[in-house]
């Protein structure tokens, strides 16, 4: 099994006027295909930052990232966007759904952006709604959903285009323990059955147990 995600000497510094905050100072690690990695560390340690960098949502100050062997920094906007909608499913800490789109439309966004005909993905939609248990809410807008439901929509959106990599920022942080467990079970299953690579940020050791590997983040560095 090959390396699917690789961080090489990753540095991220935020400049706020005179002060600069070095959030990541030379991070190196590699994730193999089919791994289920949990990133752990104290609040403010840079877990989210790292995840954004891996997903190409942010640019590192120095260092590089390779996804499926391709250097992110060398990709054009078009390729990078395509990568984001086909190869990566991103689950945000704060769900980030488009408020004026209903649940269905939110989930189908990556498909739509991929220029595919929605009709051909009707079954896929039903399947995924079943999976996250929101079949009866398809026309609701995000505002009409609870935090946990919104989180599940975000997960459904991340899974809909069948990406190889799932990057999830505290996917169960806002869920009750029962739903949380369900989601984690789901992750575990798609990791096992479909061989998807998952990188999740979590605070809970319990959640980390579902994974196959734990990476700690602190003081701008990582270790296992």
């Amino acid at each position: 099994m090959g390396i699917i995600i690789e961080a090489i000497n990753l540095c991220k510094t935020y400049k706020m006027g005179e002060i600069s905050i070095e959030v990541l100072r030379g991070v190196n690690f590699a994730v193999n295909q089919g791994e289920y990695v949990s990133l752990m560390g104290p609040s403010g340690s840079g877990k989210s930052t790292l995840l954004y960098l891996l997903g190409g949502l942010d640019k590192p100050t120095s260092g590089g990232i390779k996804l499926k062997g391709r250097e992110l920094a060398l990709m054009k906007d078009k390729e990078e966007s395509e990568m984001r909608r086909r190869e990566i499913g991103f689950v945000f800490q704060f769900y980030n759904l488009v408020p004026n789109l209903n649940l269905e439309e939110n989930i189908m966004l990556p498909i739509l952006l991929d220029g595919k005909k929605l009709k051909q993905y009707k079954n896929r939609l039903d399947e995924i709604l079943e999976l996250v248990g929101l079949s009866d809410r398809r026309r609701h807008t995000p505002r009409e959903l609870s935090g946990g439901q919104q989180q599940r929509v975000a997960i459904a959106r991340a899974l809909v285009n069948d990406p190889d990599i799932i990057l999830a920022d505290e996917p169960t942080g806002n869920l009750d323990s029962k739903t949380g467990t369900e989601i984690l079970e789901l992750f575990k299953r798609i990791n096992k059955e479909k061989g998807k690579t998952i990188v999740q940020v979590t605070h809970s050791h319990e959640a980390a147990q579902y994974g196959t590997r734990i990476i700690n983040v602190k003081d701008g560095r990582v270790w296992e």
Binding site: S48, Y52, G55, L57, D58, D77, K78, E80, S81, E82, M83, R84, R85, R86, I88, F90, F92, F94, N96, L97, V98, P99, N100, L101, E105, L109, P110, L112, L113, D114, G115, K116, L118, R143, R157
Partner: protein
């Protein structure tokens, strides 16, 4: 309190574009309002000033009566004058020719005493030469004439009067005021009264007495009073001030209708801007309230803010209004005056009104959003649980449809006497109807075109359509575009129709030249026929002036004497039925053709008899037919030429129409040459058309200008909305980027949205525009006009509506689109 003010001030400073937009709306509204109200004053003054050349400040003119044997009357007639008369100035009016530099100029001559002239029409002498005593062959000329012919005080000046050359001495040169005002038409000189009386062989007499009143507003009453006191004389108003007033006020009223639309547009912009302001300030207002500020305090700060906008906007609006007024006057002032320093007349009251419009507009438009905020509980503000949801309100839809239905149906069934008010009201009713229905129009459109969109624009099209659904900023844009484009379409269509009508009218005209001189009779006609290029002529007999219709309590204001052989060859008469047969019948006996308007108004049937009272007696005319015409407000009739001559004692032609067999311009010159000592009025049809079109296009230009200002406000509104929209949507855009939307797709989506907004806006504009035109049509009809036949809605103008709408939204989207491609995704989505 002061901290709240500071906070407000900082907000104003930060949101420069919005502040500008609010101010612009207020400024435009008060400026246009002021200009439209003041234009009537100015036009009134301009007309008065022009008329003053002939009548000065005189209100009434007294001349010899119809039965009198001579025109000469005693200047002392009104010496023991009735109360209310300020002065009575006798004058002998005459004319002559001045030949110089190979040209012959017609000169009007006023024989009047200097004291009288000073009372009636004062002049300002620039130079003089032994002027006093003003006797003998002394003459005062205007500066214009002096400059043109190099005349200096003391120079002799020869005027041909009745073929004899009479010499005067230039004894005074006056500034171009009073009789010496340059209006491009008549030129006057002033000579001593007795000199003129002598020249006309009536020493001690005058031809007219000009009466000035203590109170000009009593003009009509005094005319009546003097008529009774001097039954043997003719007493007439110089000009009817009441009529001028009502006419100029009509001009104002027309402008005001458009201004009200501009104001509604502004109110809408201020209202939406304040809603955004409220939304922005809400958290801070909540915080202030939670630490002890009362509702009153926060409300007052907000109202003060809106008042500041209103005051600044009102003042600037007045300043801009004066410039607009000047521009408008420049537009309507005839060409010959454009080199004269024209003045804008307005009253302090109008300035104050303009200012108040700005202030009140700002206060009213901001009041609703402010009140809404003050109703929200502090708890909700602080916890940020204010209902943000877009609620579809059923009653709004119902009301919108109701308004629309009223605006469409009611004008069609209203009787004519209330049609004006109802029509205008219905026009304004369209505004709330549009505001309430636009969400539905938009959603239906989006639903309808969803599939086409998917085909044409791909999935970005679907996304764009999804984004536009219930999007407030988009709806606001559509409303703004719809309203301003509709007003523009209405103005454009109407003015184009008027121009087309003019062109069509002249296209149909069957003659080439109109001619008039005094006297105009058969011998004039014969002389005309001898002019090279004149092929045929028709002398038209026309009776102007009221002829009473006995027993009907009404009068006919103008009557055309129809010549069975010529009239139909020269004039376009919309006679119903067999025109030729009816015209022949007119010649056969006392038969009359009346207008349809007159028929309907008085319930007259074919075969009825009308008793017409004239100076010669009462004559019975049989109604034999009807004509479609709104001449003299429908109080117009046709009778046989010979009856017009015999019964109404019309002796001279009112006009002579000429058909040519050569280039009409050349023939015009030939005629002018032949009649040069008779001061003829000759115009070719092309010339008349050109003059008419020029006069029209000037006024129409102002209307179009008003419409364009509405569009300007709209453009800024759309820009502002799209910027707000972008700020609102930053997060959504970032989310889409995070799930794989590339920059090109983002741009495409934004521009498809803009395109759609513009398209729907343009289409809405067309719909409202057509409804507006329909209502205006009704209003004009009620006013006695008819434009239905020549209203032409061109496909080009409709296409232009859509293109303008799309162009505006696309242009306004360039900024947001550019910013979207520089969007920092993480920054936009990180925090809830």
């Amino acid at each position: 309190m002061s901290i709240i003010f500071k906070f407000t001030l900082r907000n104003i400073k930060e949101k420069k574009l919005r502040t500008f937009l609010i101010l612009l709306s207020i400024i435009m509204s008060s400026a246009l309002f002021f200009a439209s109200t003041a234009v009537s004053t100015t036009v009134e003054m301009i007309i008065m000033e022009q008329v003053r050349k002939y009548y000065g400040s005189a209100d009434i003119i007294v001349t010899a009566g119809e039965q009198a044997k001579s025109w000469a009357i005693s200047p002392n007639l009104l010496d023991n004058c009735p109360e209310g008369v300020k002065y009575a100035a006798g004058m002998i009016h005459g004319g002559g020719e001045y030949k110089e530099k190979g040209e012959t100029v017609r000169i009007g001559i006023q024989g009047i005493n200097l004291e009288d002239l000073d009372k009636m029409n004062p002049i300002i002498l620039e130079q003089q030469h032994e002027l006093i005593p003003f006797k003998g062959s002394k003459a005062i000329i205007g500066k214009g004439m002096a400059e043109e012919y190099g005349l200096k005080p003391g120079d002799p000046i020869g005027i041909y009067m009745n073929g004899l050359k009479k010499w005067f001495i230039v004894s005074g040169i006056s500034q171009p005021i009073g009789p010496f005002l340059e209006d491009g038409e008549n030129r006057y000189i002033v000579v001593p009264r007795e000199t003129m009386a002598g020249l006309y062989g009536n020493k001690g007499k005058v031809s007219e007495i000009y009466v000035g009143l203590e109170d000009s507003s009593e003009q009509d009453m005094m005319v009546e009073k003097l008529s009774k006191a001097y039954p043997m004389y003719r007493v007439e108003p110089t000009i009817s001030k009441a009529m001028i007033k009502s006419e100029t006020q009509q001009i104002s009223a027309m402008f005001l209708v458009i201004v009200v639309f501009v104001m509604i547009l502004s109110a809408f912009i201020i209202y939406t801007s304040f809603k955004v302001i409220m939304a922005e300030r809400l958290p801070v207002i909540g915080t202030f309230r939670s630490i002890g500020a009362t509702k009153k305090m926060t409300n007052r700060v907000l109202m003060v803010e809106s008042m500041v906008y209103g005051i600044i906007g009102g003042i600037l609006g007045d300043i801009l209004g004066i410039s607009i007024l000047k521009l408008m006057i420049m537009q309507i002032t005839p060409i010959w005056e454009s080199n004269i320093d024209f003045k804008a007349y307005y009253t302090i009251g109008q300035l104050i009104m303009g200012f108040c419009v700005g202030l009140v507009l700002s206060l009213i438009s901001s009041f609703l959003p402010i009140r809404k905020v003050s109703k929200i509980q502090i708890r909700d503000i602080v916890l940020n649980s204010v209902e943000k949801k877009f609620k579809k309100k059923r009653w709004k839809t119902v009301l919108g449809i109701l308004f629309l239905a009223i605006a469409v149906v009611v004008p069609r069934v209203t009787p004519d006497n209330t049609a004006i008010a109802v029509g205008i009201m219905c026009m304004f009713l369209l505004v709330p109807a549009v505001v309430m229905l636009v969400p539905h129009i938009t959603n239906s459109f989006l639903k309808l075109f969803q599939f086409i969109y998917a085909e044409v624009f791909g999935n970005e099209g679907i996304l764009a359509a999804q984004n536009l659904r219930d999007n407030k900023n988009n709806l606001n844009n559509i409303i703004l575009l719809g309203m301003s484009i509709s007003v523009l379409l209405m103005i454009y269509t109407l003015s184009q129709s008027i121009i087309n009508d003019t062109v069509n009218y002249y296209k149909e005209v069957k003659y080439d030249i109109t001619f008039w001189t005094w006297p105009a009779n058969r011998s004039t006609e014969n002389k005309l026929l001898s002019v090279d290029g004149v092929m045929d002529t028709y002398g038209e007999y026309f009776k102007y002036g009221e002829t009473q219709v006995m027993g009907k309590n009404t009068e006919i204001k103008s009557i055309l004497g129809v010549n069975k052989n010529k009239t139909l060859d020269y004039l376009i008469l919309d006679i119903e039925g067999d025109a030729e047969k009816l015209v022949k019948e007119l010649d056969e006996g006392r038969n009359i053709i009346i207008t349809n308007i007159f028929k309907d108004e008085h319930g007259i049937k074919k075969g009825d008899y009308l008793k017409l009272k004239t100076e010669k007696g009462v004559f019975e005319y049989k109604v034999i037919g009807f004509i479609e015409s709104n001449r003299s407000e429908g109080k117009f009739a046709l009778i046989g030429e010979r009856f017009l001559k015999s019964d109404m004692s019309v002796k001279e032609y009112s006009d002579i129409y000429i058909k040519t067999n050569k280039d009409s311009e050349e023939v015009v010159k030939n005629i002018q040459e032949k009649f040069k000592n008779r001061n003829p009025w000759v115009r070719s049809v092309e010339q008349s058309m050109k003059e008419n079109m020029e006069a029209n296009s000037k006024i129409l230009g102002i209307f179009n200008g008003f419409g364009i200002m509405a569009l300007v406000i709209c453009v800024f509104g759309v820009f502002n909305n799209l910027i707000i929209s972008f700020i609102d949507r930053k997060r959504s855009l970032a989310i889409m980027r995070s799930v794989g939307m590339n920059k090109r797709q983002t741009l495409k989506m934004i521009f498809v949205e803009a395109f759609t907004g513009g398209l729907i806006g343009g289409l809405t504009g067309i719909i409202i525009g057509l409804l507006l035109i329909m209502n205006v049509e009704k209003v004009i009809e009620a006013l006695g006009g008819s434009i239905k036949e020549f209203i032409q809605i061109s496909w080009i103008s409709l296409a232009a509506c859509v293109i303008v709408g799309i162009a505006i939204t696309i242009a306004a989207s360039v900024g947001p689109a550019f910013r979207s491609s520089k969007l920092d995704i993480i920054d936009a989505i990180k925090y809830e």
